[in-house]
């Protein structure tokens, strides 16, 4: 019989746990999206700068 380890003092219903999982996964997906969008933005900025330098030259 397992004694629960790190979660032995966790007292919550399965529904609450499901909600927690959804929140945690939502956070992960949100971070992933922000990372992808910010990477796109950075690439676009670099491209713009390259164009500006090319135009200047």
């Amino acid at each position: 019989m397992n004694n629960g380890g790190l979660y032995k003092n966790v007292k919550m219903t399965l529904a609450t746990a499901n909600f927690m999982v959804l929140v945690a996964i939502g956070l992960l997906v949100f971070c992933f999206c922000i990372a992808v969008v910010s990477a796109e933005k950075t690439s676009a900025e670099i491209a713009d700068e390259s164009h500006s330098i090319a135009d200047f030259n």
């Binding site: 019989m1 380890g5 790190l6 399965l14 929140v23 996964i25 992960l28 992933f32 992808v36 910010s38």
Partner: protein, 357 residues
């Protein structure tokens, strides 16, 4: 053939015969328990669509190589997690052993050689030294956890700081003056990074083979030895294991020593792989390893976990990290995503425990 085709059909028909409420519960459980795998699968598909080169041969070999380099540390930490503990000194232990390996295996006559009077030591001797260092780190961790019943988090937090201080002091020895250790002997770099074989023009490094051997050895230790069975018994329920005649103290200390040896091996590999060891080598390796273990099903509940799970966990995590690099995601954002992955994996792990209870 007929048996294989009948079994899933039988299971499926049994599933269909269940009441609607039970069917919904089974589906919800399956969805939540495999949430991390589903998310990672979606991420891989997304990255592949955006950057098709992600699944090129060289990229796949790169992902496997990175997995191989991080596997020993994850296998070590997995043992500590099976005991319902953790080990946050792992990364620093890797850093220390990488620095020691690099310092003892610098080219003779290299301008910034840490020990100018020391020739190039034999590889086996350095390997034994770093394994001994790792084992001592593990012994200290294990002793304080087993003897004084301190939580592994606190013990390994302390040793992490002690090891970091030791690395900084070690790097000041001789003429090095805290600089990065480079100029490694060819015998060392070739032993680790040398080409094992070539596939489609892409070189496969030798350390993949070493990692494979270590994984097989760990599988045997976990599944086919008395020590492995004792480890799972102690992790599952320490008091019950004690009553059953298991030497709990010795088991805990041995698990931590084994983990320390794994950090030593990782350090030996990393020293040659990155070829420029410094005080920052190994930083945050433990967070990647812990995340990989939890993704791979090594539960913080204790007494649960498989070597195959750890391998899959490390592999999936490396796929994500390499994929994010392909998407040109900044290194700063990677830390945030790593943290979110650990959080989500732990939430799923806790939910699995509650569902079983």
């Amino acid at each position: 053939m007929s048996d294989n085709s009948i079994m899933p059909q039988g299971k499926f028909s049994a599933f269909r015969e269940l009441p609607g409420k039970d069917r919904k519960r089974i589906l919800t459980d399956a969805l939540f328990n495999n949430a991390m795998y589903i998310i990672i699968a979606f991420a891989i598909i997304f990255i592949t669509i955006r950057v098709p080169a992600f699944l090129s041969l060289s990229s796949v070999v790169n992902i496997i190589s990175l997995t191989a380099s991080k596997l020993p540390i994850a296998l070590g930490i997995a043992g500590c997690i099976v005991l319902t503990g953790t080990d946050i000194s792992a990364g620093r232990a890797v850093g220390l052993t990488a620095c020691v390996s690099a310092s003892l295996l610098q080219i003779a006559g290299y301008p910034n050689k840490m020990f100018p009077d020391l020739g190039v030591m034999p590889l086996w001797a350095v390997f034994l030294i770093v394994i001994a260092i790792g084992a001592v780190v593990g012994l200290v961790n294990g002793f304080f956890v087993a003897k004084f019943k301190l939580h592994p988090f606190i013990v390994t937090l302390s040793t992490q700081l002690i090891i970091f201080g030791t690395i900084l002091m070690y790097l000041m020895i001789g003429t090095n003056n805290g600089q990065t250790l480079s100029g490694l002997d060819e015998s060392y770099t070739d032993f680790i990074r040398g080409t094992l074989f070539t596939i489609g023009g892409v070189a496969v490094p030798k350390y993949i083979l070493y990692s494979l051997i270590i994984t097989i050895l760990m599988w045997i230790i976990w599944n086919k030895t008395k020590f492995g069975k004792n480890m799972f018994a102690v992790g599952s329920n320490e008091e019950a294991a004690n009553v059953s005649g298991v030497n709990v103290f010795l088991t805990i200390v041995s698990v931590f020593i084994l983990a320390g040896i794994m950090y030593g091996i990782t350090g030996f590999i990393e020293g040659a792989r990155i070829a420029s060891s410094s005080a920052s080598t190994g930083i945050n390796y433990e967070s990647d390893a812990i995340a990989a273990c939890v993704i791979g099903g090594v539960s913080f509940v204790g007494g649960t976990g498989k070597i195959s799970g750890v391998v899959i966990g490390v592999f999936l995590l490396q796929i994500i990290f390499v994929g994010l690099n392909f998407l040109s995601v900044s290194a700063n954002m990677l830390y945030i995503i790593k943290g979110a992955i650990i959080l989500a994996a732990c939430a799923v792990d806790m939910r699995k425990y509650l569902a079983r209870k």
